[in-house]
C-alpha cells in the first residue's frame, strides 16, 4: 500500500492525547495497541517527562511502520481526528 497518510509530527499533541486517553482512536495495528495500553500505565504514574518519552516512542512506532497497510488505516483515523475532531 502506498503511503497516503503521513505520520503526524513527533510534537503533534495527538500522541500525548492517545497516551493520556484523551483521544480514544480504535487502533488496529497490534504493536500500537500493546504500546498504548502498556504506556498508559507508565504515564499515569510518571510525570511530563515520561509522557514526552512515551509520545516520542509512539511516533517512532508509527513512523517506522508507516508502509504497512494496517498502519495506514490507523493513520487515516488519526488524520480524521485531527481534521474533524472525530
Amino acid at each position: 500500500m502506498a503511503e497516503q497518510y503521513p505520520v503526524p509530527s513527533p510534537t503533534n499533541p495527538i500522541w500525548m492525547d492517545l497516551l493520556q486517553g484523551k483521544k480514544n482512536v480504535p487502533l488496529d495495528f497490534l504493536a500500537a495497541r500493546m504500546a498504548v495500553t502498556l504506556d498508559r500505565r507508565k504515564v499515569a504514574q510518571g510525570g511530563q517527562e515520561v509522557l514526552r518519552e512515551c509520545a516520542r516512542d509512539l511516533w517512532r512506532l508509527f513512523n517506522d511502520n508507516a508502509r504497512l497497510g494496517v498502519v495506514q488505516r490507523d493513520l487515516q483515523k488519526l488524520h480524521e481526528f485531527l481534521d474533524h475532531g472525530r
Binding site: 480504535p26 497490534l30 504493536a31 495497541r33 504500546a35 495500553t37 502498556l38 517506522d64
Partner: protein, 322 residues
Amino acid sequence: MHTLEETIQLIESGTPLMISGAQHLMDRLPPGHWIGGTSYYFMTEQGGRREEELLHVQRLPLAVEQGSVRVYDQTTIANVYRDIPPGGFAIIILPAFSDVHRDFALRSHGYAEFALRPLMGWVAGVPREEMVTQHAVVYDGRGTDFQQGAVVMHCTLRQNTMVELNVVNIFRQGHGDVLTFPEDSFEATTCWVNGEPRRLVDYLLEQNIDQRLPLVADYMGTSVTVDLGVVDETAGRVTVLAPVMRDMVYRFAEPVPDYARALRAALPHIDPDQLVFCVNCVDNFFYGGLEGERLGLFVGPCTFGEVAYQLFNQTIVYALLR
C-alpha cells in the same frame, strides 16, 4: 511435517529454517543455519496431533536476505528488540519456565525499543505428562542447545517487504467483576475485586469460578489472556501461566460453548503465499479438542506461549509478509 532425514537434507541445503520437534530428534540434527525448540503437539494439514517421530520445519521466506542467530540470557534479553535490524524482524524461541522466559513475560514492555520492529516467536515445551520432570530445550543450529537461554534469528528483508503480526484469541472479557492486581507477577495472592481487597483463592472458591476460563485484559480490542495454573488453597496462592499486570483491568472470560468451532470461525482468510509464521497455543490444542481437527493454513507447533511483540497465551499468532 518432515522425517529426520528430510530435515537433515533441508539443513544441508543452507536454507534458514525454524525447526520444532521431540527432543530425541532435535538432538540429532546437524549444525546449520537454523533455530529450534522442543515441541510435541502440532497442527498439521491433516489435523492436530501429538507427534514424536516427525519434525515441523518452517522455511524462512525468500524475501529474507540475511538471518543471523543470537542467544540471550536473563541479563541480555532486554536488548532483543533493539537488535532487530531496521526494516527487518526476528523470531524468538524461549524454553518454558526458564528465567529468560519469566523475565521476557514480566518485563518485555520495558525493554528498549519495545515493539518498534516485529518480534514473533514461541515458547518451547515438553510432553504434558512430563511437565515436572522434563525441561524444554531451544537450539542454536550452530551447535548449542539451551534450557535457560533464548535463541533468536534476526532477519533483514528485501526492500519494499514488511512483516505484519496478528493474534487470534477467541476469548473476550465477560461482564463479571473487575479484578486488579498489586504487581506484575506469575503468582497471585491478593487482588482487588471491584476495588475491594480479596484473596484470589477465596474469590475463586466462593464464586465457583470455572477455572478453565482465563482472566482477560483488553488491550484496545486485543484480548490478552491469563490462564489459571495451580490453585493452592493451603498457601492461598494462584500460579498463573502468563503474568497478571499491575493496574490492568481483568475480568473472567465469557464462556465459549464450542471451542474448536469458535477458533475456526475466528481465523481470517489469508493469502497462503503471504503466511510466513504460525504457532498455536497448546491450551487451544487440549481445551479445544484439536486432535484430528484441521485449521486450514494455520499449521505449526502447539506451544507453551506465543510471541507477537510480547508474550501471549491461548492464542494463534501468525505473520504475513506484505
